[in-house]
């Protein structure tokens, strides 16, 4: 939220004075120059944003590197609670959601997001080690847009991400 506020303020400053420098913005908002630069960089990032939610560090790291290489802006969350916060602050284009995550599990996170009209349009791809059909049914009933079983094929995952993103754009 803090970052959101800063973003809004920077935007209004930019609107009122298109020639304003980073230094001036920094002074105006009394935040560091680095931070302003970082926010500006993030704001100017036109890549599609993927939120990866997984509590397994290595899986997360590998997926992050792979997706970044593919040209996505990857945001990560390690538990359900962090995932919801990140969705609110980052507004990702797609969410890769592991089912077995601490605090709030994947099903519940999905349910909460899909019941909130502000975020319900964001496509959710469920990732899980469980292969049971029940999970698939539940995942789709809760509004997950797709379902990938761990360990997944990287190519397939990328194709599915592209597909849900395109589908969303078409709408």
């Amino acid at each position: 939220m803090h970052e959101e506020n800063i973003r809004g303020k920077i935007l209004s400053l930019l609107e009122s004075d298109p020639g304003i420098t980073i230094k001036e913005i920094s002074n105006n908002l009394s935040v560091s120059v680095d931070e302003v630069e970082k926010v500006l960089k993030a704001m100017s990032d036109v890549r599609q944003k993927v939120l990866v939610v997984d509590d397994e560090m290595d899986a997360l790291l590998a997926l992050k590197v792979a997706l970044q290489t593919e040209g996505y802006n990857v945001v990560e969350a390690k538990d359900g609670h962090e995932a919801i916060v990140k969705v609110h602050s980052e507004l990702p284009d797609v969410i890769l959601l592991d089912l077995m995550i601490p605090q709030i599990d994947g099903f519940e996170v999905c349910r909460q997001l899909k019941s909130d009209p502000v975020y319900s349009h964001i496509p959710v791809i469920m990732l899980t080690a469980r292969g049971e059909i029940d999970d698939k049914v539940e995942g789709i009933e809760l509004g997950a847009d797709d379902y990938v079983t761990k360990p997944f094929n990287l190519k397939e995952l990328k194709a599915r991400i592209k597909m849900v993103l395109r589908r969303n754009q078409d709408i």
Partner: protein, 581 residues
């Protein structure tokens, strides 16, 4: 206790018993009546025999006496000169029961007789107006006997008139008087107190009554003042000269006093028709059969008692039987309930086990697939991006190697758990130096300890004995416990290993000053896959099997392991192992 059905059974049973008892009582009474009837009949027949005997003997005796006089009267020799004085004396002596015998001449004058003091010599019947009987005998020429008449002496007697003939010529008559008292003393048997005899004439008038209280000559029926048809029948039969038995009810002012049994027999003495009767109260019969009554009564009572005893015995047996049946049913029901409850319990346990198994499988598959996911993603990435820079390549390869290690540790742990749970874990026991083992374990964890900036303090008393255990497994215990301490401690934490020697075992405690364990988690930390705080656990990685394996190894060798903790301050694991073999 008694349900509806057994109550009906009891009622039915009681009815049967009552029927049996009443039939016995009925038979007893019927037998009494029959016996009484038979005995009464016998008694009456006996009485009749007696009556007949007495009446016969009276009749015969009286007739004989008269015959004596008739024999003299029929003498062919005519009237002797002494006017039959000597003959009459002889007859008097022979007969022995005449009051007096006299001779009356044809003109009606008493001229002789015996005994002389009773003879009114010279009395003329015509002159004294007592000639009717004389005239009658004179006309008919047959013996005539009068009804008993009052004599001059005051008592009663019958006058016997016997005609005397000489050829066809009437020569007068003999008069003999039989006094009643003589008759009585001679022929009436001394009967017992309760029976008495009476004599009626053919007009039903009382001639003789044993008690002597009734006036003679009265009508017997009037005397008894009885309307009982039995008595009238008896009197009618007696008047008609019949022989037989009868009975009537003796009444006193309308109420029955008792039943009387009467036997009667006729006495036929020339023109006189008399009837002798002997009467006894029927209570005499009862008196005779009272002992039979008593015995029958005893038999009946004994039978009833026997039935009551047997039936109550049967009731008691049935009651006990049904009670024991009930008890058995109760017992069986209880048993069934218990077994049902234990089956339910077992079923619940099995379901719980099934659930745990499913959960275990799902966790295991998750735990096995997670490193695979990381490896697969990394390796696929490497394949696709040949041209990526060395640092990124290195990073991805590290991920692959790390996850291979993790996977193999996981498999080892799972195998250990499997062996522990199926009691197949093998311990290669030997005498192990505890200090060496601890130091060796710490050496294995040098790197993680360094990364966490943690120190381990080891406190072992001098000259401590050896432990008889599997060294590799003991190392595993220390590594797992130390790993846990590292995982759940902040940077710069401290671990203390404290060893104590007890009598026959060695106690080891491993303490840390980490995040500790809350009260509710304390009971579950030894469970498979249980991890206190998943978030923090995943940071360092871990199967969640370490403490289960530790517990398995310690308890598998007969040791114990406990945990104590203060939340936020640290935890202490204490285990014991046997010192010697």
């Amino acid at each position: 206790m008694w349900n509806q059905r057994s109550r009906w059974n009891i009622i039915l049973f009681a009815v049967i018993v009552l029927l049996l008892i009443s039939s016995i009582v009925f038979l007893w009474m019927k037998t009494n009546v029959e016996i009484r009837a038979v005995v009464e009949e016998q008694y009456q027949n006996q009485q009749l025999l007696l009556t007949r005997q007495i009446s016969d003997s009276i009749e015969r005796s009286l007739t004989e006496k008269v015959l004596l006089l008739e024999v003299i009267a029929k003498k062919d020799s005519g009237v002797p000169p002494d006017n039959f004085s000597s003959d009459l004396k002889s007859v008097y002596d022979v007969a022995g029961m005449f009051y007096v015998v006299e001779y009356v001449t044809a003109d009606g004058t008493i001229v002789s007789g015996y005994p002389e003091e009773h003879v009114p010599y010279g009395l003329n019947l015509y002159e004294n107006n007592e000639y009717r009987a004389f005239e009658r005998v004179k006309e008919t020429g047959v013996v005539y006997i009068t009804d008993p008449l009052r004599l001059m002496e005051g008592n009663y007697g019958s006058f016997i008139w016997v005609p005397v003939y000489d050829g066809d010529e009437f020569k007068g008559t003999f008069i003999a008087i039989i006094s009643e008292s003589d008759l009585r003393s001679r022929y009436v048997v001394e009967s017992n107190s309760s029976s008495y005899a009476y004599l009626l004439d053919k007009r039903g008038r009382l001639l003789y009554d044993e008690s002597g209280t009734y006036e003679r000559g009265v009508n017997y029926a009037e005397l008894m003042n009885s309307s009982s048809s039995g008595l009238l029948d008896i009197i009618a039969a007696q008047v008609n000269g019949m022989e037989g038995n009868g009975k009537y009810l003796l009444l006193d002012e309308g109420s029955v006093v008792e039943e009387m049994l009467v036997s009667y027999s006729p006495i036929s003495w020339y023109n006189q028709q008399w009837s002798l009767a002997i009467t006894s109260p029927s209570s005499d019969v009862d008196r005779l059969i009272v002992s039979v009554y008593l015995k029958l009564f005893i038999v009946a009572v004994v039978s009833v008692l026997f039935i009551v005893f047997v039936s109550s015995f049967i009731v008691l047996i049935l009651f006990n039987w049904s009670k024991s049946l009930e008890k058995e049913v109760d017992w069986k029901t209880q048993e069934l309930k218990e077994s049902n409850a234990s089956l339910l319990q077992a079923n619940k346990k099995l379901k719980e086990l099934d659930r745990l198994k499913t959960e275990f499988l799902s966790i295991v598959s998750h735990e096995l697939k997670t490193p695979l996911t990381a490896m697969k993603t990394s390796s696929e990435f490497l394949r696709e991006n040949d041209e990526c820079d060395t640092a990124l390549r290195q990073q991805m390869l590290d991920i692959v190697i790390r996850n291979i290690d993790r996977q193999s540790r996981m498999v080892d742990d799972l195998l250990d758990i499997s062996r522990i749970e199926s009691n197949r874990m093998k311990f290669h026991r030997d005498l192990v130096d505890i200090e060496d083992t601890i130091l060796f374990s710490i050496g294995l964890l040098e790197l993680p300890l360094k990364e966490a900036d943690m120190s381990v303090q080891v406190d072992i008393p001098e000259n401590i004995g050896h432990i008889y255990t599997d060294k590799d497994k003991l190392v595993q215990v220390f590594v797992n416990l130390l790993n846990n301490a590292i995982k759940f401690s902040k940077k710069g934490g401290k671990v203390t290993i404290f060893v104590e020697e007890e009598t026959d075992f060695i106690k080891v405690s491993v303490s840390d000053n980490g995040i500790g364990i809350s009260q509710e988690e304390m009971g579950r930390i030894f469970d498979k896959f249980y991890q206190i705080d998943s978030t923090s656990t995943r940071k360092v990685g871990g199967s969640g099997l370490g403490l289960s394996i530790v517990k398995g190894i310690i308890e598998g060798q007969g040791g114990t392991i406990t945990v104590s903790s203060e939340y936020g301050r640290g935890s202490t694991f204490v285990f014991t192992l046997k010192k010697e073999q």
